[in-house]
Amino acid sequence: MTAYTPPLARLIEQLQKLPGVGPKTAQRLALHILKQSEDDVEALAQAILAAKKQVGFCQTCFHLSADKTCPICRDQQRDNKTICVVTDSRDVIALEKTREYHGKYHVLGGVISPMDGIGPDQLNVQPLVRRASFPEVEEVILAISPSVEGETTTLYLGQLLRPFVRVTQIAFGLPMGGDLEYADEVTLARALEGRRELVNS
């Protein structure tokens, strides 16, 4: 758009690539940034770069983490006997907010979806199988959203893990449009509490 001088246009274009940011919001954010002091803008830019450079995945559970092992995996107070399997890090954050779960997590990094070229090999499945076979692990809770792809992933993990560990599935009601992220805390806590044995269908 000609009303923007090129550097401003570039900033708006970049902001607009972010999820949930449309042209209007992008313009508002950009104009706000230009009004801030240079120090504040510098801090924002640094924070973005530093986060990108430093945050990787926990070697054990694949949750986002700046250290090789994330604080949840390191926490001695947490129960080693259960592993809750989720699709991505957003789900860990949603479940942690309920403060109802005290075990460990495992982040798959997606769900099985041939349309997107994602099969079990593209997910963190092998490390999960290894962890689940440790003697101290008594239960694996599958907390994957009940979309077609999520259900298929649940089915697959059930077949894989059931031979050597108890596998349960959290109780979703009717589909809530999919994501754990959008479930409120009470719903999530109930879903965890009402989990049931995974049966082969």
Binding site: I112, S113, M115, T152
Partner: protein, 376 residues
């Protein structure tokens, strides 16, 4: 149920039009391309969230605009409700019931019921199996809104399974690895689980519809013709029980394994079902005149009307788009007798003289010109 008010904003060729319905029968008259079918389409959307004319919302939004809106007041037996559909040229719809924004289609469906009958419906007899499947599916959705979700799940499983088969086809020179077999088995069982839901509901609804359609057909044809409707699922089954039907799917998948491998797509499932229409032991498509085919479609529509009324407990709306003029006087009378005063009916026509005087007296008449509705 009674549609009391309809408000169309930036919908098709309507900029901002309110319509207030006062009689059981409404006649919309106007030349071609003025907006008569567009108005009926809005009601169809309220009832099914689908239009039989397009599957893209950007066609529904008025040209040059980015959003369009349909709102309606519907009087039901026990309550009056406000419905709203916000359509976007890009992006998802927003659905409203009273003042609440709904997250699931399912909660919106079933608030208004309607049966649409247009000249295009002759395709039910003449067209391919897909047209008949879509027709039946639309009816099942009105009767059992959860079916909209079931169908969506089935289609998603189909897309995923096709993607996997397509990929495996590229490796057709070698046999599948254990991992690949396991993956395919997962999608086999998903197809069986979801396909079983689809086929059982189709069979159940058709089972209730057929006797009513046959009865109407006998009446309209003067008992000269015998109508039969056969549901021929791609995966045949006999016992209406989920395990058995799923087992039938898995057996057929096993049987067609090689074909699927070479074609690289799913050849087993409800996306290949057929609903056969037969008159006097001959496929209706091949049988008889246009008039006889119209009789058949009319019988199907009247049966839909009656079945919805039976299941929902309230008479649905009837939308007659340009069909009245196409029916001969005898069939017109059959239709009018069937409707009587019970079903709120919206009728479009290009000329008012297609109706008899009694009808005109009992109807509210609007004229439609260039996206504006006014008293006739």
């Amino acid at each position: 149920m009674f549609l009391r008010r309809l408000h169309l904003r930036q919908f098709r060729n309507y900029t901002d039009q309110k319509v207030q319905f006062e009689a059981q029968k409404t006649i919309l008259v106007g030349n071609n391309a003025q907006g008569k079918s567009n108005l009926l389409e809005a009601v169809e959307l309220l009832a099914t969230l689908n239009s039989h004319r397009t599957s893209r919302d950007r066609d529904l939004v008025q040209n040059e605009q980015t959003t369009g809106q349909i709102t309606a007041t519907v009087e039901r037996k026990h309550s009056t409700i406000e419905l709203g559909i916000l359509l976007r040229k890009q992006g998802r719809r927003t659905l409203k019931l009273n003042t609440e924004t709904l997250r699931r289609q399912m909660e919106f469906l079933g608030q208004v019921n309607a049966v649409q009958f247009s000249g295009l419906d002759l395709d039910l007899v003449r067209g391919g199996p897909e047209i008949r499947r879509n027709w039946l599916d639309a009816l099942v959705i009105q009767l059992e809104p959860v079916y909209a979700y079931i169908l969506q799940q089935y289609n998603q499983v189909l897309r995923q399974r096709n993607a996997l088969l397509r990929r495996l086809k590229q490796e057709e020179m070698r046999s599948l690895s254990e991992g690949e077999k396991m993956q395919l088995a997962l999608w086999d069982s998903q197809l069986a689980a979801n396909g079983s839901r689809v086929t059982r509901r189709r069979a159940r609804v058709l089972g209730r519809l057929v006797p009513i359609a046959q009865e109407w057909h006998r009446l309209i044809s003067g008992a000269k013709e015998q109508l039969e409707i056969h549901y021929t699922p791609n995966v045949p089954w006999t016992q209406d029980n989920p395990e058995q039907v799923q087992q039938a799917f898995l057996s057929k998948i096993e049987q067609r394994r090689t074909a699927e491998k070479y074609q690289g797509r799913t050849v087993v499932g409800t996306h290949r079902d057929e609903i056969e229409l037969v008159i006097n032991n001959t496929p209706a498509r091949a049988y008889g005149s246009q008039g006889q085919q119209r009789t058949l479609v009319l019988a199907l529509k009247l049966a839909e009307l009656k079945l919805i009324e039976e299941v929902i407990g309230e008479p649905p709306l009837l939308l007659l788009d340009d069909v009245l003029a196409e029916l001969d006087p005898n069939r017109q009378n059959q239709l009018l007798e069937a409707i009587q005063g019970r079903f709120q009916t919206l009728i479009t026509a290009t000329h008012i003289n297609a109706f008899d005087a009694q009808w005109l007296n009992a109807s509210q008449i609007f004229s439609v010109a260039a996206g504006e509705v006014s008293n006739f």
